[in-house]
Symmetry: C2
């Protein structure tokens, strides 16, 4: 028999609680899409390129992956046109969770290990059974928890970013923190490029930032989270996390894609790490950017950071300096916020090049459970940092009240100046200059 | 002045001890390649999409990245032909090491953080100054150290892999280990898909493997390394590493690309981890496979694993089931073994679909300082596992003695059977069946 009956299955015949289901997009010069799909399933579970004696019926029954769907694009039935050389298809493969033992590195190895290297194959989705997800506590705070810490409900959060990205001394950042807090940011975020250089260490800028935070709180009465970038090798990162909490820090930031999901999961599941964690997407494009290789953004920026326990995540918005197709950005937000067993919702933060003129479109796409992360769009405001923050809040209020931004700007000089500098998204004549 | 003089530099004008130099391949619809290149340098260091007040001259002098080379392909001088819409070019950018403080996650963030997400940009090379590399001890053993542990010199190493990849119980693996050791393997390697499942835990198979190792040693007198796959989240992985060493294990394996280079570096630089570490390339293709995105294989599989301290690495050979262009595979080997300041050499192991008939070509490409990693090519041998190992050694000896494999096979029944089953690479009629 040409087709090993153990490797083929249909969805309904699967004990779904025992399998993780992956969806791949493939292109191949193949006369037999079923055999090509089966080769993937075999390679990523029990088999190899040549028959080996110990790959027995029992071993396969327990550990072999199953092909549960093969769908050619378009969906030829009567014949594949003779001029079609490269066939395009989606393949669904189910992997036994028993092979993986509830950890992310082996999940990645199973879903996209050796087959990551064969080319023209992209992992575009993953569906988890409850039994697997139960190995992960997920976000400790999530959207509701972060809102509770800040006592901010029913509107987007404003996240102010330190700029310049890297190079400024702690005292400059402290001054910037104070102004951002006065202006009304909910979260101050380190830049991803600012980790722990000698001229601005984690401890030095935490100290400067916390002082500024307390000073501002006396004036505003409002809490501000400071997501300090502790990115480093996992061992050092963990020690830094403890130190930050000991010093009174109230949030953390990790460049998750440079240290790995599992390092993030170690932090998020540790009882000593009692503060929310924000993921920055630096390096994430290495995985998802290519249309025919790697892993899609909904998995990379959505499902996996949530599984690993990120409370907030910054990722490219469809309207900024780092491009991302609009439907992809919205889909990432769905992965972060739709029901997912016991996992709390992760705050989506589409960003990079944000300014107040984007508020109407952003809130139409993402609602109010969204983070507005802005650096240049705050500090680059013609009237300075405090005005830069206020302009954002004025924009939020206008959108929520159903007032066009241009009308609201007549009553708010900060918003007016912001719109004069950066325009309103969608207006005729609004040209967004991509900086990269 | 259109061109910020602080962002442009030439190589000779750079204090090179203070900069890491990255080389990118780009494609863009751009009228000004210099401004496009400068935007990358600015984004990845001090700047953002709009001017901000604190990005001062001093900040930039310390922390701004510099564009040191822009080379269009082909190298137009008199004019860019009017029909050329998409321009192709290589860009060299120098990043101040002071921004990074000697750690791999921030290195990745700096080299390819936000710009990983802009598309049609691939990081193709990195050059490090000594001052940065001095932060890393590199491989503890390297090629010479591993050879010394095994007392094997002047020939390739044979690495036998457990097959099936996942699903077999420890007792089956123990039996396989014994036979591989009798047959003459130097290293027994876990499969990347076999980490720590309930039916075959790290401890259970280490126990079975070590017993088999001792039993075989009584017969052969030879040492065998067992690279046990401890891949897990960094915290658990570290504990497993200590446990393995405590139990008498003599080597470790990590799916480095699923846990991160920094987790590997944490292990390699820890005084308690006293055994060699082998990197498996699972998931690595997510980074390097796309021609216009991600990071090239020489960096991903070569320079970075060596920097992070891998003693051995398995990666795709040009002749097996997982394709890799021949010059790329050789280039990876160069990155692993050419002089690199104080770093020891990492053993290259181009593999996946290896059999004895590939020995002449592999040794022509890679010399004798190479690992032959084989699973199916050992256990799938018609005369069994012991014969499968012997056939490899017979092939090595023939190549080193300058005897054609077909001639040597006349005197060695194991080699003869292997060649009958899988052929000799490059012979007319030799067809290599790709399994994936």
């Amino acid at each position: 028999m040409l087709y090993d009956p153990q490797v083929f299955n249909i969805y309904e015949g699967l004990k779904r609680e025992e399998f993780i289901i992956a969806l791949y997009y493939m292109e191949a010069e193949s006369r037999d899409l079923l055999l090509r799909s089966a080769a993937i399933a075999v390679e990523q579970s029990t088999g190899t390129w040549t028959a080996v004696p110990e790959e027995t019926w029992d071993v396969k029954e327990q550990s072999l992956a199953r092909v549960i769907g093969v769908h050619e694009i378009p969906d030829y039935e009567d014949r594949v046109p003779p001029d079609v050389k490269t066939r395009k298809f989606l393949v669904q493969i189910a992997y036994p969770t028993i092979n993986i033992n509830g950890q992310i590195p082996e999940l990645l190895t199973t879903l996209f290990g050796n087959i990551s290297m064969i080319g023209r194959l992209k992992l575009v989705d993953v569906q988890f059974p409850k039994s697997f997800v139960e190995n992960f506590p997920g976000p400790r705070f999530g959207i509701e928890g972060v809102r509770k810490l800040l006592n901010v409900h029913g509107r987007p959060l404003l996240v102010g970013m330190y700029k310049p990205c890297v190079g400024a001394p702690p005292a400059t950042l402290g001054k910037m923190f104070f102004e951002m807090a006065l202006g009304g940011v909910d979260v101050v975020k380190d830049d991803e490029l600012l980790a722990d250089p000698t001229f601005c260490t984690v401890e030095a800028r935490l100290e400067a930032s916390l002082k500024a935070k307390e000073r501002a709180k006396k004036e505003t009465g409002r809490e501000v989270l400071y997501t300090v970038n502790i990115t480093d090798s996992p061992g050092k990162m963990y020690k830094k996390a403890l130190k930050v909490i000991e010093m009174g820090g109230n949030a953390l930031m990790v460049n998750t894609f440079t240290v790995g999901y599992a390092a993030l999961a170690d932090l998020a599941s540790d009882p000593a790490i009692t503060v929310p964690i924000l993921t920055h997407p630096a390096f994430a494009g290495s995985y998802y950017e290519a249309p025919l290789n790697g892993v899609a953004s909904n998995v990379i920026l959505g499902k996996l950071p949530r599984l690993a326990g990120s409370d907030m995540i910054i990722y490219p918005s469809p309207y900024g300096k780092v491009p991302l197709v609009r439907e992809r950005a919205v889909r990432v937000a769905h992965e972060l916020a739709c029901p997912f067993y016991h996992l709390k919702r992760t705050f989506p933060g589409p960003a990079a090049g944000m300014h107040p003129g984007l508020a109407p479109q952003m809130m139409e796409d993402f609602g109010v459970d969204v983070i507005f992360g802005a650096g240049g769009g705050i500090h680059g405001h013609p009237q300075g940092t405090i005005a830069g923050c206020r302009a954002f809040h004025q924009a939020f209020e206008a959108v929520m009240a159903g007032i066009p931004l241009r009308d609201a700007a007549e009553k708010h000089k900060e918003l007016k100046a912001a719109l004069e500098r950066w325009g309103v998204y969608g207006e005729p004549g609004h040209e967004y200059a991509l900086a990269i």
